[in-house]
């Protein structure tokens, strides 16, 4: 056993499948003092130093599984007190509501909704755009944030989604992307950060974001706190 207590990153497993790449990417950038744990145990989440909420699949199943597995209280507790990062459907699950699956109430951490691009989605010039929005798109930083550290503005990240978030409070938007319309792809409030793209699939800039998360103290500003 190691004498030094390791800093634990809990990746929440709520039965929605593939967490392998999220965990592997975190392990790839973790230093020797960091331990990555994939867990569905509320006690482990409660005890973790930081928490990552992944998401894949349909929103109704995601929210349903979070409640069925008894994880919602731990998710809310983590969002209230420690560095917390939500990914892909994870960001959508933090909104008030999603129009996917005929309409689903979500965790309501950020006021606002997740909307469908629509099968007739068009670019600014009227040309057809494919849905899902799948591939590498540029992310514009709308605020400075510790999680953007070392990542160039307008760097490309990997996306795959058909729904996008529209927060009511625009000051919570941390990054945007353009796909027929400019939409929010990163949200920030206090110790909670959420992104629509997949850092674990976004090569070096994605790994940098995970590295930033592992070292983040949960403060949203870049103020001279180091």
């Amino acid at each position: 056993m190691n004498d030094v207590k390791k800093s634990v990153v809990a990746v929440i497993d709520y039965g929605m499948g593939n967490l392998h790449s999220v965990a592997k990417a975190l392990e790839f950038v973790a230093d020797e003092n960091t331990q990555v744990v994939v867990t569905s145990d509320p006690a482990v989440i409660d005890a973790a130093d930081r928490v990552l909420l992944p998401g894949v699949g349909a929103i109704r199943d995601c929210i349903g599984e979070m409640y069925d597995a008894g994880l919602v209280p731990s998710i809310r507790k983590a969002m209230a007190e420690k560095p917390f990062l939500a990914i892909c459907v994870g960001i959508q699950s933090l909104m008030s509501h999603s129009e996917e699956n005929g309409g689903v109430d979500c965790l309501d951490h950020f006021k606002g909704n997740a909307l469908f691009f629509g099968e007739q989605h068009k670019d600014h010039d009227g040309s057809k755009l494919k849905v899902p929005h799948m591939g590498w798109n540029q992310v514009k930083h709308t605020i400075d944030h510790p999680l953007w550290k070392g990542i160039p503005d307008n760097a490309r990240f990997y996306f795959v989604h058909s729904f996008y978030v529209v927060p009511e409070n625009k000051s919570e938007v941390a990054g945007t992307c353009d796909y027929g319309l400019e939409f929010c792809v990163a949200l920030s409030r206090n110790n909670v950060f959420a992104v629509q793209f997949h850092p674990e699939k976004s090569h070096k800039d994605g790994l940098q974001l995970y590295k930033n998360f592992i070292h983040w103290d949960g403060k949203p500003s870049l103020a001279n706190n180091d």
Binding site: N18, H20, S21, K24, A58, W136, R156, V160, K201, S202
Partner: protein, 257 residues
């Protein structure tokens, strides 16, 4: 500013080695899949497709280990195809670290499998692979048909209608291979690529026939493909991924450079 078109190197893997045949014959060895995937990742590939062409299913465990090894070291999207016939096959590949699975023959014989898979795992990870061959004669209206068994068996299914049906059933992406062009180095069949890309609302990956970098440009500009897939031009060092991206970017295509 906007979504980039993708370059996807494809690893055809037989008994644990990357190979590439010319119209499914004359197999050449191109190395260890994990090493090849890492090389493409370093060169800036946007995704990697791993196609298991092992004839027997005995080596499925080998494939799972290889996918695990790649997914632990390569942090870009990984699609695994070949021999995906059941939801259990899909689950195993996703758990090994694949982001998407390619369903080909199984979709032809049992379209409901695509629906079931999309409902269970989400459309975002279901790629339906279509092997099409031109069946119209010179002078007739263009028509393409779905073929199975490496292009040997016709099915009577119209390729464009089939693509639309697969999207209705839940395919999140279409991987379209021209069996006339695969391995020929004569370029994509741009007609079928464009016909299918314009008929469906999901992304279409063009495959089969790339012999030079201009073929990749044509696939996007004329074929309207969202992504281009190639194997041999990259495997044997003729071109690097970066060279391909530069050429496409020079042609005015939005790329991740």
């Amino acid at each position: 500013m906007g979504l980039a078109k993708r370059i996807i190197p494809c690893l055809d893997v037989d008994n644990g080695r990357v190979v590439k045949g010319v119209q499914f014959l004359d197999i050449r060895d191109a190395g260890d899949p994990v090493e090849v995937a890492k090389r493409y990742n370093e060169q800036g590939a946007d995704e990697i497709t791993f196609l298991d062409i092992t004839a027997s299913s005995d080596d499925r465990a080998t494939t799972v280990h290889m996918v695990e090894a790649i997914a632990s070291q390569v942090f870009i999207p990984l699609t695994v195809g070949g021999g995906i016939r059941t939801c259990e096959d899909i689950r195993r590949m996703l758990n090994a670290g694949a982001d998407k699975v390619g369903i080909n023959t199984a979709a032809v014989f049992n379209p409901e499998f695509v629906r079931e898979a999309a409902q269970r795992f989400g459309s975002q990870c279901i790629v339906v692979a279509i092997d099409a061959k031109k069946v119209s004669a010179e002078g007739e209206t263009d028509k393409w048909e779905i073929f199975t068994h490496g292009g040997r068996k016709p099915t009577g299914l119209d390729a464009v209608e089939w693509a639309k049906k697969m999207v209705e059933y839940g395919a999140g992406e279409i991987l379209l291979t021209s069996m006339d062009r695969d391995g020929t180095k004569n370029g994509f069949d741009l007609g079928v690529t464009r016909a299918i890309s314009e008929a469906v609302h999901v992304p279409v990956i063009a495959s089969g026939g790339v012999g030079n970098l201009d073929h990749l440009v044509d696939g996007v500009l004329e074929g309207k493909a969202d992504a281009v897939l190639a194997a041999s031009i990259f495997h044997f060092g003729e071109y690097s991924i970066q060279q391909a991206k530069d050429r496409m970017s020079d042609a005015g295509i939005e790329m991740r450079l």
